[in-house]
Amino acid sequence: MLILTSTARVFSFAWKNFVRNAWIWLATVLVLVLALLSVNTLVGVNAVASSAIGVLEDKIDLSVYFKPGTPVAVLDQARSYMSSLPQTSNVDLITDAQALESFKKRHAQDPNILSALDQLEQNPFGASMVIKARNTNDYPFLIQALNNPQFNFAVESQTYDDHATAIDRVRKIAASIRYFGTVLTAIFVIFSALIVYNAIRVAIYTMREEIGIMRLVGASNAFVRLPLIIDALLLAAFSLAITAGMIVGMIAFFEPRIRTFFDGADPGLQAYYVTNYLQLLVLQAVIMVSVVSLAAWAAVGRYLKR
């Protein structure tokens, strides 16, 4: 009965304290929201950067041009072999007839080109093969694989070498962005945790006199500590909820505006949050709850010595 009464009073004091110190808590909530927003913004920027890198990487492929008149059996052999490699994501074979057809379609409005084409007795186009790797790091391996003697004699040229430097640069930038994005996010998480820790300490510092009085009239350490820890947890909950609401608003505002940078493609911001937000929220809640509880525990402890 005593435990029930005391527990009810702890919650009651926590709530009254929360309401009556609204201004202190409001200021603290603002600091907590700013800390959470900074981390979430960085996570969002990382997601957009990853998405941009993905779009760029998706544009990378290896085009192989075969000599005109290469037999279909050799082409099939080449496609079959390249498709069978685990490093290959997709292989598109364009026969010489499809290449000619495609050329004609592209220049349907240009009679000069079409008549010049008609002058030729043979199809001037050779077949080609567009290979996409699962990972940009796999392209050098796929280029080596093209040296297969079963079909390499028929290869006239391949484009990867022309773009190798650009592709390598994109690859390095992508790796750097991912690496620094992770490091920066980790640093922000640590800074934010420190800010949150100190915000709670400052809030409790303003109540040190009150804590002293509670002790003076015979409140046990637990009775002083628990309501303040509950208040800190309430702050964490409010901050997480406010931040979540602001993120929804920010995504709705920014996503259509950054779409133009992606040539109208989906920047993936909303998709990223829809897929990962629950996980992100749980992670932030765990960190937040741990930090505020620890901060409140330690901050109150300073005023409970005697």
Binding site: L2, K16, N221, F223
Partner: protein, 228 residues
């Protein structure tokens, strides 16, 4: 009731708060502890509520040796000693009722007992009409009476008042002293720490005079002996 044996307090590096004090205060006494600033009055008061620990000697309250009291036992000691301070020490965000009730709530007292006790003690100090006011809505004398009411809720055997009239005018001072006398008449031991000559001389009770951390005088029907 209160026994101090050879109690000394030294603050680092070598500031002596109290020097070899031995005292016995019997149940039901009204004792004034007087002395000039730095004489050791407040140090002594803080030791009685375990806010300070003696460097040497022993302190017993009602047979309980509190010399090396554990941190977790301090709340139980403080529920047995009513404490009144010069600066009131009221919870500003709580009403008069809540301030008084708080002392019972932290002790886990049932709600029914709180509902009975709080109006009773507020009546003793004459504040039953101002139960829903916040401390800043009260005069200094009224705030001090709230503190006394809060100190009384546990029906303490000892009431320790450290300069309770220090911030009050003459009229409020007299009111507070009357309340303390009333509490003493109910049987509680009252330890009044003060430097108010008029108050001490009007009480005609035991006066312990401290000087430089020592007991300079201890008279049953004492007077304020120090020069002002």
């Amino acid at each position: 009731m209160i026994t101090l044996k050879h109690v000394s307090k030294v603050y680092p590096p070598d500031v002596h708060g109290l020097r070899d004090i031995s005292l016995f205060i019997a149940p039901g006494e009204f004792v004034s502890i007087v002395g000039s600033s730095g004489a050791g009055k407040t140090t002594l008061a803080k030791m009685l509520i375990a806010e300070e620990q003696p460097t040497r000697g022993t302190i017993e309250i009602g047979g309980w040796d509190i010399t090396h009291i554990k941190n977790r036992d301090i709340p139980y000691l403080r529920r047995q000693i009513g404490v009144v301070f010069q600066d009131f020490k009221l919870l500003k965000k709580k009403t008069v009722w809540e301030n008084v009730a708080f002392a019972l709530e932290v002790a886990g007292e049932p709600r029914r007992r709180i509902r009975e006790t709080v109006p009773h003690v507020l009546k003793i100090v004459g504040l039953e009409q101002k139960a829903q006011r916040f401390p800043h809505q009260l005069s200094g004398g009224e705030q001090q009476r709230v503190v006394i009411a809060r100190a009384l809720v546990h029906r303490p055997k000892i009431l320790l008042a450290d300069e309770p009239t220090g911030n009050l005018d003459t009229m409020n001072t007299n009111e507070i002293i009357d309340v303390l006398k009333k509490i003493n008449a109910f049987g509680s031991t009252v330890v009044l720490v003060t430097h108010n000559r008029e108050v001490v001389n009007a009480l005609h009770s035991r006066v312990i005079t401290l000087a430089d951390g020592r007991v300079a005088a201890d008279h049953e029907q004492g007077k304020y002996l120090l020069p002002t």
